[in-house]
């Protein structure tokens, strides 16, 4: 096969240029690579730095587009400095930029200068979940009447199929309020950051929605999303939150578009 021949010929002679150029792209202290020049013997420093700047600035821009509320909270300069550290230590492994920054919230949690904003990582987690929901597969959400069609004695055995957009972000802070207030440009009232909030991210058709889950809701839903039957999930929610409102939770979740299907499992 001729193609194999091309590969072997090429493989003997090619590996240098990309590795050579790549080495300094994310490291501003790395020397300018050998073997590159400007015309008529001109120096390559600023010329190579065009690529360097493109790489770092475009990846910082990508993070700014994924995490606009985080950026509004920190301010542009703070965000860009923080993002630059992240980009240089954790460049993308995928060419799909909308997948970038999954561990940026963890980086923020470790970032020295962000320690005064302990709610920032969870706010960023909600933003990351928002984008995952935005790109999730187009699947119809479960019809509100679907559960009503199940015989009452089988309800405890009902198991739900999560909609591909559904995400939960649990927080010790008022991350949902902080997220919502900072995803828009307008002013907002002071938020008491220390009130814990659990975020539910869903997408019905095209609209991504972020809601606060009621007490016990996150424990309940986490069980359901893990494929546990309704009876077990309800029991664990009641354990954690005695005032847990089962009917309101299940209705609210179905209306939010958390699930795409249900089926009745075997008796536990």
């Amino acid at each position: 096969m001729p193609a194999a021949e091309a590969t072997s010929v090429a493989a003997q002679r090619l590996p240098i240029y990309a590795a050579n150029l790549a080495r300094g792209l994310l490291d501003p202290d790395h020397p300018i690579p050998a073997g590159i020049v400007g015309p008529n013997g001109k120096r390559p420093v600023k010329r190579y730095n065009v690529y360097r700047n493109n790489v770092t600035a475009s990846l910082v821009d990508a993070l700014a587009a994924i995490f606009p509320a985080t950026r509004r909270i920190t301010g542009v300069e703070f965000f860009r400095a923080m993002a630059r550290f992240y980009v240089r230590s954790t460049p993308p492994r995928s060419s799909l930029l909308f997948e970038y920054g999954r561990d940026f919230p963890d980086f923020i949690a470790r970032y020295e200068y962000a320690q005064a904003m302990p709610y920032l990582p969870d706010t960023a987690r909600i933003e990351r979940a928002w984008l995952d929901a935005y790109h999730a597969a187009d699947v119809p959400t479960l019809a509100p009447q679907a559960l009503g069609a199940i015989s009452p004695d089988l309800l405890a055995n009902v198991m739900f199929v999560p909609h591909p957009a559904t995400r939960i972000v649990r927080s010790r802070f008022a991350a949902v309020r902080i997220f919502a207030a900072n995803r828009q440009d307008g002013p907002f009232d002071r938020i008491e950051a220390s009130v814990p909030e659990d975020a539910l991210v869903t997408r019905r058709d095209l609209e991504v929605t972020v809601r606060r889950l009621p007490p016990g809701g996150a424990a309940f839903l986490t069980q359901l999303l893990a494929g546990r039957p309704l009876g077990d999930a309800a029991a664990s929610a009641f354990n954690g939150a005695p005032g847990f409102d089962l009917a309101a939770n299940i209705t609210g979740m179905i209306e939010a578009g958390v699930f795409s299907a249900l089926h009745v499992g075997d008796h536990a």
Binding site: A3, L14, A18, L26, I36, G38, K46, P91, L96, P164
Partner: protein, 306 residues
Amino acid sequence: MTAVTQFRAAAPLARFRFSASLASVAGTSFKPEHFRAILDQGGHEVFFEVHAENYMGFGGPPHRMLTQIRANYPVSLHGVCMSIGGPEPLNPTHIERFRSLVRRYEPALVSEHLAWSTHGGIYFNDLLPLPYTEATLARVAQHIDQVQNAIGRPILLENPSSYLTFIESTMSEMAFLSALARRSGCGLLLDINNLFVSATNQGYSPTAYLAEFPLDAVGEIHLAGHAEQTDDEGDLLLIDSHDRKVADPVWTLFESVVASCGPIPTLVEWDSNLPEWPVLSAEAAAARAILDRHASIEPRHAHAGC
């Protein structure tokens, strides 16, 4: 020694130049920010180009918008990160994603870049340069062949904006592009802004570059704006920025290409510092006016030389 199978060896570019109705049409980058304004404006004398990678998610608003755009307008699928110019094997997952987009949206034009963007498992999100040698030529031709076989049609390969050269290069960019088109059967996407940027940065005349460019293989033209900086010696260094209007000398070069080749589908790119839709639309209209001025010129046969 060349080990690349010729893809559709018989006049592979004819479909771009003659059968597609795009020859005299000017288009723009499609940006979701303009979606509503585009639909409200109506009219069909335009086409839209999208960066393929932005539509490689599973679903949601991006696919819904593109489906609606595609229902009303011809679409050009422009890949940005296949890394065709890199020494490493292409990512088969990425080729498969690209293939499924081509099948789903049946674009009028499909293109990629003479550049690399991924190396050693890192995606650099930039169009990085390569030396022009027999070895890289063989490798890139094989990559193009692989992509064309996967999608079942030829692609257009775009000339890069360059800021530096490799000492090891043994041929000019024009010679490299000509040889690639001959070997792989691919067409070329002539980015006149890139050409102008490269010529300025490399210290040669854009018209001389254009005179050597294999225009007979060109199936699409790009126009865009550039920014100005300086190099280490304090001389002008142009940056391919896609963030402003097309510069006057680029319009002049464009008109000279169209005057000698006849109408070719032309696209105005604008990727950052986005204007309102009417501004971008007016840029496309300006390109369209130039195409119209030379509408009577018969596009010459792809291999007759332009």
